[in-house]
Subunit: 351 residues, 2 copies
């Protein structure tokens, strides 16, 4: 069991620290401290303003302070745009390795390929896990469009945008499904999901020719071993930068059904103000159309992220989403996943 310090310098907030929050919420590893000098002195829950994430986990200002909590690994918990290593982080990483901590990074740039960091890891006998480096099995596999094991059920978590709750929705449904005794598994397709589950395909880091094939292998292998496979989606089909990743993932996963994930109140692609989001009904058409080019996958429910809303507003937003789409809707984190699991069970029961 790892004991993690999560680096989230200057960004440990609900919208800035997606990886940190995912790890705090779902990882089997224990987080012993958060590194953010701008929020030091609080606990993680109060720094985030979330009751259910990181209660009692201290936010500290330096690696030296974090060492008091006996960490084993430093995990980079924020994602700079483009995935490059900011210069300001380098001394922190070197200090951590000097103190005997392993590094866990989901950056596009591989830390272990950096001569200085690689040498430090060797010198201090620590490891660097570049989570986004595709495994050899996945790196150059051509998609084959193979059908899944009869009786298996693959569900794709389709997003209206980046950072709307696709991974969180898939993890929450997987956890609750296993609580019901279902034979389910989470299929990680991004760096945070892989940090949490230990395996997966970093779809956005795979060479584009092989995205479909890599994801196909991941999902095929999981459908051999499990009845339910909940596949974390990435990006959105309407994204100016990331639509290639999304379509490769959707086609490689070859789902039987989809859950649409959306953040209540988001009207435009984040950081792309010229790109308004389609309506929920429009998004359902987009995803069902694109999946159907290879294999039909109806959207059977809506997972709504209501983190920005009060409890009353959240209930109203969930109700409005259900009304607009005619589908069951919930915020899986806030209100549980039962409505969506029930919808999935009904959908597959008829097949």
């Amino acid at each position: 069991m790892r004991r993690l310090v999560i680096l989230a310098e200057g960004r440990f907030s609900v919208h800035g620290a997606k990886t940190a929050i995912g790890v705090l919420r779902f990882s089997p590893d224990q987080t012993v401290a958060i590194l953010d000098s701008t929020r030091a002195g609080q606990d993680a829950a109060s720094a985030l303003g979330l009751a259910d994430v990181g209660a009692g986990v201290p936010v500290v200002a330096t690696v030296a302070e974090a060492l008091a909590f006996h960490p084993t690994d430093l995990l980079i918990g924020i994602a700079p745009i483009g995935g490059q290593l900011p210069d300001a982080w380098r001394p922190t990483l070197l200090q951590a390795m000097e103190a005997g901590l392993n590094l866990i990074s989901g950056l596009h740039v591989f830390l272990d390929d950096d001569p200085e960091l690689h040498a430090a890891a060797e010198a201090h006998h620590v490891t660097i896990w570049d989570v986004r480096r595709p495994q050899p099995d996945y790196a150059m596999r051509i998609g084959r469009g193979l059908p899944h094991r009869q009786g298996s059920r693959t569900v794709y978590f389709a997003g209206s945008d980046c950072n709307v709750g696709k991974m969180t929705g898939a993890l929450a449904l997987d956890r609750e499904a296993r609580g019901r005794g279902w034979d389910s598994v989470f299929a990680a397709t991004g760096q945070t999901g892989i940090m949490i589950s230990g395996v997966g395909v970093p779809a956005d880091r795979v060479i584009s020719d092989f995205v479909n094939g890599a994801v196909e292998k991941l999902v095929l292998d999981l459908t051999e071993q499990h009845q339910w496979v909940f596949v974390e989606g990435q990006g959105t089909l309407c994204h100016p930068a990331y639509s290639a990743v999304t379509l490769g993932l959707l086609h490689g996963a070859r789902p039987d059904a989809q859950i649409l994930c959306h953040e209540a109140g988001r009207t435009h692609i984040n950081e792309y103000p010229d790109y308004p989001l389609p309506s929920l009904r429009g998004l359902i058409t987009v995803y069902e159309t694109a999946a159907g080019w290879l294999h039909p996958a109806p959207v059977v429910g809506v997972a709504l992220n209501t983190v920005n809303l009060s409890e009353d507003e959240a209930r109203a937003a969930v109700e409005a989403a259900a009304q607009e789409t005619g589908l069951p809707a919930t915020d899986p984190v806030r209100f549980g996943s039962a409505a969506l699991l029930d919808a999935l069970e009904r959908f597959f029961h008829g097949r």
Copy 2:
């Protein structure tokens, strides 16, 4: 000006040697010999069964024979599935370098990263051009969804499948457009196109997160310099393996109009017998829908590859495609591009 030997061992045929044929037909470099021991002794035109490609270019069995024609470069003109270097080619490549030839390769695996080949290149003072290695400007650029220069006209060549004539169609229209005095340019997005034009983005080799952004930069730069930009498409949106590449390219190119490219008589995705192609009308809907998620781009004509048909059959196939789609159709190689250039001119005239 290069003098090329094209390696096409065992595969120098209309359907086996797409790169060789593209280079023979469109490259400003001179091809002095084809290397295919199974067809040695003919000229390239008769080996291919094409009247207009490679007349008088000898097909030879060995590098030693090719040297009689004073080549400067050996270009790999066939594409093994997956892009790996077949073991059988290695001695040929080493012989070529020993004789002072540079290497030009479009494989996924970079020859210059191979220690033996790299050392041989150094020893013999020759260069290795790995065409599929993305240029630094393109390798990690995030898409921004920027509009193009007002008055520029970007046309995407959308395919029903791989190897149906997208590159050939784009090159043929570009050549004929320049013949009309239009200010046009071909935007290469694959290894053969890049070998021909000297620049471009190897879209299928770019990390998936950056496909849209790399192609966007290529096309934005060209629209600054030219009125017409003819963008080579890749794969197809309905492809089990390559749909990620196709959508990233389509969205990155942000075309104003599209030409649908199809090989007459093809009914299924090549090598994927479980995946039938949609009808031409269906394909038009697929491409217009996907482009429209970001920026509308109507399909205004059909480029039909009739290489497998007799002259009469070809005319009938072109007429049938025009009937089915209600759009101008032609085989640009066989019958010229006028119908499609006229259609494009009409389309943009009204805007």
